[in-house]
Structure formats: structure tokens, C-alpha cells
């Protein structure tokens, strides 16, 4: 329990200074710290890439730039994975990937999901890991943050005076490449470097040499053991920090080489939440809307505490499958590392799903049904902190919905921060909200309707949970899995690609468009008669909207999956 409290305390303690640093580094109107150091580096990148960082884009251009860059990255990664066998930096002679696995892997990493239908150490060369994977692990979280910056710029940021607001509407939403490069250079790289060094200090491998050959202890056996290694520490750092989740090794951070000690476990756990929470602080500072962000933060923290507590309580219970057997001793240790124990495993599981990270230090598939339910709920909601940038963007969608209903309930035409919400906005909010049940429930239903497709390792309730988890994880851009699912098939790879793409780009870019449309409208001054988004009532309404929308969409399937599993197990 102490370690859990230490982790929460460390996150809060580190998020305040980091948030302050991020706000000053990323806000257009502030003097960025260490500018003399970073500016030349950025200038070099801009010149190399041939972009004009000071050109402000319209929302369409911005969204198009995001889509274009990601399409290129997907093609590049896809090609790299398929051709890695003949490309350099492949000391262990790993063969090229099958086309559909390569495509799924490329899309999965380009959507900040890192869902893996392969095992990293055995199926990816050093080139694939470092050039393709790690590049994407930096670019994708930075993209989420960049889009958030664009939305903050046009919609959320309090304007100093009227002239500013008039000029900013004509000036566009900002420059994607500039936002991207600044985020990576000034925020992600420095922090990732620190974490990578800390992990290397704790013993995580950091080398370009091939696998290590070790003679077995039993001298009588003539074979030697190959221990895969590589530049692991640097990848694990950004994997944890960037809400990525895709590790070097197949079993992710449950492997001692990726997460060797209790200290490395705390470092990695704190890294899960560090950027998403810091971003709340940074957004509060940049926008000047502290009270609004306090409300948002309060809802997120409340959701987080409920989720973590439930997960920990669930995993401290005996394994549900062993009820009535003599082996049924508390707690549920199946699929968990003895080094970490049930509490730190459950905490990791809840944090990794709260933040759309998806790395694991224990197997979620072996959690008790309620623990599994918690991770599923976290991913449905997906705005309990959420992915970097996209978590707040997703929250904004719910905020718009709450503002719509809340405005009506106080007798005003619907508005958000004084901007009228009309049919066009509601249509796109609706599309973004509809996409989630359509994709997750639709694909799950089709998959379980044809038993040949599913590849589940369990029958009935848990089998359904496995399928549901896979698509939920893909749509939420989480990446964790109820492993045991035979998911490296054509069907799984291609349908997951659909869920990945829809789940990433629609909920990220629709709010950008809506924000840009809203920015062009009149702003009603706030007063006693307008919707006060800082009030407790509104914060409660937003939380209610989030819970109700997700509950209404997913309660039936949760009843059939984890709830039925829990109840039939005899609790």
C-alpha cells in the first residue's frame, strides 16, 4: 500500500514543476526556458524537413498535415518491418514480418496504441525497434499534444483583449510541424533521456550488441542460452512516458530485463501518469482557466481513485477460478510477478488503462473478473487522464455534450464558453461518440458470431471478454491485451487496424474542427445567466454524462463478459 501512495505522491509532486516547464515551453505567449539551446536544434529540423514553422494553418490544413505525416510514417514502418531481414542493424538475423502483421504493427504504433500481435525481441530487428518503433513512440504522443495545443489556442485560451481574439480567428490554429517539433525537442526528449538513464542505472539493457550467449548452469548440457537484449532502456522510457506501451520484449514490463527492480517498477509506474497529469497543469497555466481545469482534474482523479482502488481490492482477493479448491489462497497471484505483488500490479493495470498506455507488468488476462472489468471500463471512458493530449481532447467532447444539456437546463441556447453549439457541432460530436460503440461492439459481435475468427483461448464469458478487450484496447489506443488470444491472424490484424485508425483520428480531429468552428463565432460574455463551467453542478454533470454514456453503451456486454464470469464463479 505504501508503494501505491508513493506513486500517487510522486506523480503529483513531479507533475507540478513539469507542467510549469511544459506551459512555458509550449505557450506561444511566454518566453521559453533554455531557448538558446533548443532553438538551433529546431531550426535544423525545420530546414531539413523544409517546413515553415511560422505559417499558421487552418484547421483543415492542420488535420491534413497530421493525416499526411502519419500516412507516410505508416508506409515507412510497414516497409521497414517487412524488409527488416535484409536491412542493416539486425545482428540476430530476424526475418521480415508477414504483410498483415507488419501493417497492423505499423498502424498500431502510428496511432499511439502499440498493440502487439508479435513478440518484439523475437520478431523485430534493432533497426525496426529503434528507427521505426521509437520514432513513432515520440511522434505519436507529441501529435496528440500538438492537436491539443491547437485546440487550446483557438478555443480554450483566455484572450487578453478583443483585438487578440479577432486576429486569432483569422490567423488559424497554429502550425502542426512547429507544435510537433517543439513538443519532442523541448519536452519529450529531455524527460525521456532522464528516465532512460535512471532505468539503465537500475539494470535495463542499453546496447547495440546482439543477444548474449550464456552457458547454462548445468555443465552437462551442451547448448547455450541466447538472452535477447539491445537498446532497451531508451525505448522503455518513451514507451512508459508517451502513453505508448509497446515494449522491447513480448511480455512487456513483467520481464526482469525490462523492469528489473522495485525502484525501476516505481519509475515506470510513475512515468505512466507523468505526462498526462503534467499536461493538466500545463493546460491550466496556458489557458488561464484554472477553475475549469481544477474541475476536469477533480473528475479525472476521482475516476482514477475509484478504478485503482477497485482493481487493487479485486486482485487482493483469491483467484476467482480457484474458488472452492484447496489452493484458493489470497491474493490472486496468477499472471503476476512475485517481485511486484498484487497491489503494484493492480495499480499498474489501472493506470496503464487510464492513460491509454497499455504497457503491463502483469497479465490482465489472469486478473479476477472485476479487475478485468476495471481495465475495460477505464478504456471505454478513456479520459481518466487519457493519452497524451488526446485524453483532454476526449474530455472536451464530453464537456461539449454536458455544456449542451447544461445550457438547455438553465434556459439558454446551447453554448460552450460563450460560443453557440449548433447543429453542425452536435453532428460531429455525435459522430465521434457513435464511432466508439459502433466499432467496438460491431467488431466484437461479428468476431464472436463466427467461431473460426475469434481465436479465443477460453470459452463463454471470458472468451467474450478477450475479444471485447482486444477491440476496446485498439479503439482506445491502449494496446494492452487479454493475451492468450490468438490474434496474429489476417482477420484480427485487419479489423484491429480499422479500430485503431477510427479510434485515433476521429476523436482527435473532430474536436479540432469543432474548436475551429466555434472560434469563429461570437463569444457571449460570461455572467450570472450563462453556464458556469467551473461550478460543482457542472463538474458533476460532466462526470454524469461520461458515466452514463459509457454505461449505457457497454453495460450489456459487461454483464455478459466479466460480470457473468464473476457471478458464476460464486462470489
Amino acid at each position: 500500500m505504501n508503494a501505491v501512495i508513493i506513486c500517487y505522491a510522486l506523480v503529483i509532486g513531479l507533475a507540478l514543476p513539469l507542467g510549469l516547464y511544459m506551459a512555458h515551453s509550449l505557450d506561444d505567449d511566454r518566453k521559453a526556458p533554455l531557448d538558446a539551446l533548443f532553438r538551433p536544434i529546431e531550426g535544423l529540423i525545420y530546414r531539413f524537413a523544409g517546413v515553415k514553422p511560422d505559417h499558421s494553418m487552418t484547421w483543415r490544413d492542420y488535420a491534413w498535415a497530421v493525416v499526411k505525416l502519419h500516412a507516410l510514417l505508416i508506409l515507412f514502418a510497414w516497409f521497414t518491418f517487412m524488409a527488416q531481414g535484409v536491412l542493416p542493424l539486425n545482428p540476430d538475423d530476424i526475418a521480415g514480418m508477414r504483410w498483415d502483421t507488419a501493417l497492423h504493427t505499423a498502424v498500431s504504433f502510428a496511432t499511439n496504441t502499440n498493440q502487439q500481435h508479435y513478440s518484439g525481441q523475437a520478431q523485430l530487428s534493432y533497426l525496426s525497434q529503434t528507427l521505426a518503433i521509437v520514432t513513432l513512440q515520440f511522434i505519436t504522443p507529441a501529435t496528440g499534444l500538438a492537436v491539443l495545443l491547437a485546440i487550446v489556442r483557438v478555443l480554450l485560451k483566455r484572450k487578453a483583449n478583443k483585438q487578440d481574439s479577432a486576429s486569432s480567428t483569422t490567423a488559424g490554429v497554429g502550425n502542426y510541424y512547429r507544435d510537433l517539433v517543439r513538443t519532442i525537442v523541448r519536452v519529450m526528449l529531455p524527460v525521456a533521456t532522464v528516465v532512460a538513464l535512471l532505468l539503465a542505472w537500475q539494470g535495463v539493457p542499453s546496447t547495440y550488441e546482439g543477444a548474449q550467449s550464456i552457458a547454462p548452469l548445468d555443465k552437462g548440457v551442451s547448448i547455450s542460452q541466447e538472452i535477447p537484449r539491445g537498446p532497451v532502456a531508451s525505448m522503455v522510457a518513451i514507451k512508459q512516458l508517451g502513453t505508448n506501451g509497446g515494449g522491447w520484449y513480448g511480455p512487456n514490463s513483467s520481464v526482469p530485463l525490462e523492469n528489473p527492480t522495485a525502484i525501476s517498477n516505481i519509475i515506470e509506474t510513475v512515468s505512466l501518469l507523468l505526462f498526462p497529469v503534467s499536461l493538466l497543469v500545463a493546460t491550466a497555466i496556458i489557458t488561464g482557466r484554472r477553475k475549469l481545469m481544477n474541475g476536469i482534474g477533480a473528475v479525472m482523479v476521482a475516476f482514477s481513485l475509484v478504478s485503482s482502488t477497485t482493481a487493487i481490492v479485486s486482485e487482493k482477493m483469491p483467484n476467482a477460478a480457484f474458488i472452492g479448491l484447496s489452493a484458493s489462497a489470497s491474493p490472486n497471484m496468477e499472471g503476476k510477478e512475485v517481485r511486484f505483488g498484487p497491489e503494484m500490479s493492480a495499480l499498474w493495470a489501472s493506470w496503464t488503462t487510464q492513460t491509454s498506455n497499455g504497457s503491463v507488468n502483469a497479465m490482465h488476462d489472469s486478473f479476477n473478473p472485476v479487475g478485468g472489468l476495471v481495465t475495460l471500463m477505464d478504456m471505454f471512458v478513456n479520459v481518466t487522464f487519457g493519452g497524451i493530449g488526446v485524453g483532454l481532447i476526449g474530455y472536451l467532447l464530453y464537456l461539449m455534450l454536458a455544456a449542451f444539456i447544461g445550457s438547455l437546463m438553465i434556459g439558454r441556447a446551447p453554448e460552450l464558453l460563450g460560443k453557440p453549439l449548433e447543429s453542425r457541432e452536435i453532428r460531429w460530436i455525435s459522430v465521434a461518440i457513435l464511432a466508439q460503440p459502433l466499432t467496438i461492439l460491431g467488431l466484437t459481435a461479428i468476431t464472436v458470431a463466427f467461431p473460426g475468427l475469434a481465436g479465443t483461448s477460453n470459452p463463454a464469458f471470458h472468451g467474450l471478454s478477450q475479444v471485447l478487450y482486444e477491440y476496446t484496447s485498439a479503439f482506445a489506443n491502449n494496446g494492452s491485451g487479454f493475451e492468450g488470444l490468438g490474434d496474429d491472424t489476417l482477420w484480427w490484424n485487419l479489423t484491429a487496424v480499422v479500430a485503431l485508425l477510427v479510434g485515433r483520428f476521429l476523436p482527435m480531429l473532430a474536436p479540432l474542427a469543432i474548436a475551429a468552428w466555434l472560434a469563429e463565432k461570437r463569444t457571449a460574455p460570461s455572467g450570472r445567466g450563462s453556464l458556469n463551467m467551473d461550478s460543482g453542478a457542472f463538474v458533476g454533470l460532466t462526470a454524469g454524462v461520461i458515466v452514463i454514456i459509457n454505461l449505457l453503451s457497454f453495460l450489456p456486454v459487461l454483464f455478459l463478459g466479466p460480470v457473468a464470469e464473476q457471478l458464476t464463479s460464486g462470489f
Binding site: M409, G411, I426, R427, V448, L464, L541, I548, P556, L567
Partner: protein, 684 residues
Amino acid sequence: MSTSTPQQGEVTQARGNFVWGNLLRESLLRLNPRTLARNPVIAVVAIGTLICMLYTGLAIVRGDDITFVLSVTLVLLATILFANGAEALAESRGKAHAGSLRATRSQLKARRLHKDGSEQLVSADSLRRGDRVRVIAGELIPADGEIIEGAGSINESAVTGESAPVLREAGTDNSGVSAGTNLLSDELLIEVSADPGESLLDRMIALVESASRQKTPSELALSVLLATLTLVFLIVVVSLVPMARFVGITPSPVMLVALLVCLIPTTIGGLLPAIGIAGMERAMRANLVAKSGKAVEIAGSIDVLLLDKTGTITLGDRRATEFAPCDSSMAEHLRDVAYGCSLEDPTPEGRSIVSLARDQGATARLDEQAELIAFSASTRLSGVNVPGGQQLRKGAPNAIAAFVEARGGRIPANYASLVERISRKGATPLAVADGAQLLGVIALSDVIKTGMAERFSALREMGVKTVMITGDNPITAAAIAAEAGVDDYIAEATPERKLEVIREEQQAGCLVAMMGDGTNDAPALAQADLGLAMNSGTQAAREAGNMVDLDSDPGKLLKAVEIGKQLLITRGALTTFSLANDVAKYFVILPAIFAASIPALSQLDILGLASPQSAVLAAVIFNALIIPALIPFALKGVSFKATSATALLRRNLLIYGVGGLLLPFPLIKLLDVMIAGLFPGVLP
């Protein structure tokens, strides 16, 4: 006289003309697929009903027990009829008001004037814009229009319900007349201002007719949201089938339809048209005719109200409120002289002086021989010469000062400061003299209508800023503004200044409402987000505004704001209620569907319902009955208190959100107990 004057009774009769049979007929007529398709939520219920009918038929063919299937089918049908009935009821109430007027008018005849001056008797329906008609005392005005010649008193009770006659006159700001009103005196020449089908009356009717009604912007956005939710639940229920099969449950199609119907927002979906129509009807009942539904909705979001001082904030006339003597020993003398000067003064100001003096104990009577000195613009004073030689005068302070000095009198030292003190309070000083003796000053003040301060504070509570517009000088304006409790004022205002103010406020993002009647108000009325024109106003003003007040009551803006807010709150509250209901329904229906195959899931049946069938039936019956139960809310609007937005949100969330979450649990349990009691054998 060839025009027949219809009996008052005929006009009002239609209002109470509400018959249950008509309502049922209307509800059934709306089962027409094309009508149903207008409302996606109800359309889904209709498709569900058809599916259930199909299964009822199948059960009959197979010889199965049909109690459950048939019951569900009938309840779903009832759900649709209740929704249709709500809309029909709202429509009939609205139309009753306007329809009776239309009936009156279709019988009207008009004297149309040709260019050569000859008259022709034609039906009022054939009048076109630009036609000129002559109307003689005792006749009904045949069409909306503007008086171009003459003046007359008109009884507008047919339109406004107010029986006191009003004066309408050509060339003034009170030159507009409405079809169906009764000319009581004189003779008028009227230019018709609307083609058939475009008059105020026609507009009123169009707003409450569901077929021709345009959805307002927020209603449209809400419809999109409701359609989305319906789609979400369709996905949830359809995808449930293979998932349930995968874990070994084959759900009954009828139960799935019941689940779908209970989940989709039928409550708000069914009541939404009724809420919209009822909002228009409430506006109409307040004698506010909106030219579009949007105008009523905007009224709820108004940030700034521009109010004319005279007639809106103050009674039209000034009244004496104080006798201020130059020397306290002269107090009684001042009172009596002021009284004497005013006894024969017929102006409202004169009468107010008399009444104030009487209140303070003046009893003297005027000598019959007294010579009256009338007010003239050159002397700027009036009074009486009493036979004894006394010259009593009241008038403008400097005119009285000159009068006193001319008779060798002395101006008291404190006179100037006295006059200034009264001006500063926003009152008009009227000096009084008895020959060479300057007695003091009467304060004539604008009297603020009773209850205005409370209304303004209620508006402030709601976050609406009130701005008083007056032609007075800034000092007077400030004093009246402070007394009335408005937030701001514009002194020495001209129509151009009004337009400017509206533009400024709109630049700052505010929605502005104003009221006006004159032609020179037209640009401002058109510019304002809510331009409320008085029905008595000129044609230009009535065309420029997007709402017309038939009572021509300047205080109506406040009512318009209230009606608009109530309309939006009703929508929001019922949407919240409808969605919150769903949680309970899940806990009733899902265990019912699953528990037969997986007994462990019966633990989710937290209400302990009698049987899966009775549970599902109880849920759909609750779902159907909640619609008629909420019809009163839809028609009257949810109760609304003028308070801050945050307090309002908290209150409505508690009532409709938390209430909506909890209410279904006991009610469904109750229904379940009743069903289990009614069909003990059939629904085990």
C-alpha cells in the same frame, strides 16, 4: 352596412373545444408512416411494434401463449399513440386560439377603394398587399394594415383579449391595425400590408401546426443528439444477439425489441414536438406573436434588454411627489397655492398636484369668480387670478422668478439650490408664487411602475442586463435609472443611438432585445436579436421586428425572456430525465433476458421482480406511461424560478437527473407487482 359583426361568443367558443374523441382520431391519423418518419425515435418504436406484431401472429399460428407478446405489442403501440397524442394536444390548444380568429375573418367583407375613388365590396380573403380599404365605425377591420387617413378607437379584444378600446391614428407611431379587430368610432382609410396567408394570424397558426412548423436551431441540434443516441442503442441491442449466443443465451426477439424501445429516448423524443408547439402557444397566450420559432428561443438567451423609459419603466406621466418650500414657514401656503393653481388644470400633472395637496390636508375651494390663466409656450406659466387680487402662479422656475421680480418681489437665496436639488433627483421642478412672494417648488417626478425594481432584480439574477433608454438629460436619466434599478441607461437617446448601442453590445457577443413602435425604431428592431414590435406601431416597425406584441405593452420583453427560457429548460430537463431513466431499465430488462440461461445473472435483478416477462412488461409500461404523465410538463413548461444559472442547474440536475435515475425503480417494481397479480398463471 353589409359586413356582419360576429358574436363575441362564436369567437371564444373554439378555445374550450377539446374532445377526447378528436384527440384519439388525431393520434391515430399520425400513425401514417410519413408522419412517423419525421421523428426518428418514434419511428424506431413503430418498427419495433411491427416486429412484435409479426411475432404475435407467429405465436397465434403456432398455437403458443400470446399473452406476453400481445401485451408488449399493445404497450408499444400505446407508446406511439401517447407521443402522437402529446403533439396533437399541443397543436389543438394552439390552433384553438388562432383558428377561431381565422374563422371570423373568412366571413369578413371589405370595401376596397379603386384608384378612381369608387368602392367595391369584396371578400377579405381577396385583399392583397397595397390595397386600400375604407372601414366605418362598427365594422371589423378586414386585414392587417396601416391607417393612412383618419383616427379611431378600436376594440382589439378579438386579438388581445383586452376589451378597453385603443386609439389608432394615421401618421403617428400608433397607426397599425390588425385583422379581426373592431372599429368603434370614426372612419379609417387603411392600406393592407399583408397578402393572404402572410398575416400575423397566419403566422401564428403556422407556428403551432406540426406539419408546417420549422424546427428551431436548438431543437434541431437536440434532434440530432437524440437520433444519435437511438443509433447507439440500436447498435447495442443488435450486437447483443451474437454476443449472447456466444455465451449460450438465445434472447427472445420480443424482449430485445422491448429493451431497445426502453433504452432509446422515447420520453423526450415523443414530447419534443409538443414542447416546441406548447412554447409557441405560451407565447401566443401572452399575446406575443413570433414570426418564427427561433425568435421565441432566442428570447431565452438574451443578455441585454433595451427598455424605453416612458411607458415601460415609468408610467407615462409625471406626478407631483413633493412640495418644497423656500422657507419652512411657507409650507402650508405653498401647498394651498399649488392646489388652487391646479384645481382647474386638466392635465395629468395638474391632477397629480391636486391629489398630493389633498393628501397633505388641503381643503380650500376655488372662488367661482376666479380668472384662469392658461399655460402658454411664451409665458411658460399658468394659474388663477382670485377676485381679491391674489395672483397665483405655477410654472418653469425662471419664468416664475421673472414673474416675482416684475412685481417687486425678492428671490429667496436658497431658490436656485432648491431647484437644482429637485432636478438632480430626476424630477422636474415647478415653481409656485403668490404674487410677489416666491413660495417654493413642486417636484414633478417620473413615477416608476410598481414592481419594476423586483423584475429588474430578477432579471439581474438571471444574468440579463437591463438598459434604460430615454430622451431625458443625463442627470434625470441617472436618477430614474438608479431608482428603477436598471443596470445602465442611455440618456438623450436618438433612434440612431439605439442602433449604435445594439451594434456595440452585439460586437461584445451579447444577444440584444429591444422593443419599439415608431418607424424610426425599425432599423434598431431589425438589428436586435429579438426585436419586439408593438402591434399598435407603424407598419415599418412591425415588419422589422421578429416578434409582435398584440397588447403593445412595453413590459412584455420580460415575459418573452421567461417564455424562451422555460421552453429551453423544458427540453433540457426532459432529455436529462429520459436518459437517467435508462439505468434502471437496464437493471430490469437485462437480468430478465439473461437469467433464464445463466441463473447467476439473476443476482443483478436488484428489484426482485416476479418473472422475466412481468419485468419486461413493467418496464415497457413504465416507458409508455411516463409520456402522458409528463405531458403537463411539456405543455405548461417546467416550473421556472428567476435565479442564477448555477442555482438553476443544480436544482434541475437534482430534480430531473437524480430524480430520473431513482424514480423508475419503485414505479417499475409497483407495476411488476400489479402485473404479477393480474396475470398470475400466464406470466409466472
